[in-house]
Symmetry: C2
């Protein structure tokens, strides 16, 4: 089984890459990331570091011009302030880039077809269901069907984390020795995680629930 993994550089997709390599050790695996005009390069650099760590070919698809044209109304691609607080707050909804996951899955599927891969790995998980419609099981099911039907070369969508929490994914990743010090989660592009944005709060919760320290925070500001 050969796979194309959507790799953001965050915890979940990095764990998924490790999972795929372990689960399908005889397969060829690719990682694909997307430059849609994020506020900062930290996440894309993390994706490159993770791919290199796992010795996996990595491609960054450039959607910046599409982002400039269409992806307005999101704090991830503009200079309006990042809302702080927990993800389930209404204030966090502004971080949604319209239909980003469908766009990324579509392009990853194109790459899967071109590279004769069997699946596209997508780290959607239960923690995102409440806020992101395109991380919910019903979206994944419909999109998986579209992906299966779009070409004579059959590609499936692989979402082993669809019903897991971030803490459960982390538990798996700790078992697989994922180098979480190389991942990046914070919405801000500072030299150290801000500790306040929704993703920082979620990451800290996941490590707390696993009774582990976050290796990314070791040696940083107190």
């Amino acid at each position: 089984m050969n796979g194309v993994v959507l790799l953001s550089g965050g915890m979940d997709s990095s764990t998924l890459l490790a999972h795929c390599i372990d689960a399908f050790p005889d397969g060829r695996h690719y990682a694909i990331s997307f430059d849609y005009g994020q506020r900062h390069r930290r996440e894309l650099n993390a994706a490159a570091d993770i791919a290199r760590y796992f010795n996996t070919p990595h491609q960054i698809a450039d959607l910046r011009s599409v982002g400039r044209d269409f992806m307005f109304g999101s704090s991830q691609t503009s200079m309006i302030p990042v809302p702080q607080g927990h993800y389930t707050d209404d204030s966090m909804r502004v971080t949604i880039v319209p239909n980003r996951n469908m766009v990324m899955l579509s392009i990853a599927t194109a790459f899967a077809i071109a590279s004769h891969s069997d699946f596209v790995g997508y780290a959607a998980h239960a923690g995102d269901h409440a806020i992101y419609p395109d991380c919910r099981p019903e979206f994944v099911t419909a999109m998986g069907e579209a992906i299966r039907l779009c070409d004579d070369h059959k590609v499936s969508i692989y979402t082993p984390y669809i019903d897991l929490t971030k803490a459960q994914i982390l538990e798996e990743g700790l078992y697989r020795n994922v180098p979480y010090q190389l991942t990046w989660t914070c919405y801000e592009g500072l030299s150290f995680p801000c500790g306040k944005c929704g993703t920082c709060v979620e990451r800290a919760e996941a490590f707390e629930l696993n009774k582990q320290g976050d290796p990314l925070l070791q040696g940083g500001p107190a």
Copy 2:
């Protein structure tokens, strides 16, 4: 009803734009085209001309860098010769760009969400079912479901031509006075249609079945 129409600059999507404007006269309509590194600019220029004719805001999304990275293996984006003959020949399969329609539908949906539109118009038709999996009704159904579920703002896919032939679409377009002299169909980027490629053959058949001359061919080489 506000719509975003996928406009290639060919006959079918140009007819669909006229159809949407007639069918939903109170709506705002947008046209979106895609530069994925086509061999020539004729089609994109035709799309711009058609949008201008219908006084419709038009945006060209730049997927060239994605195309360079992933969309190999297709005669539409490389310098290998265009196969000649009818579309149902095996030789024509090389004109498929992997998963192009899903990528375009995904980005059009992003634009529909951002512009508070109600539907994405897609001119898939029965003549393409045999060769293009992503023009078939089952793909359109699955993709429509994914589009409906991808965001809190509900967008539908609108495919009124899914069971029509090219000749039937042309019949509708002639009734709607679509300016077919502005459209471009030929795979070659010459000053005049080659008359030999699969799309030229199909176009000629459609006009013959409607007992009409093609206005694009008037005044050209004998």
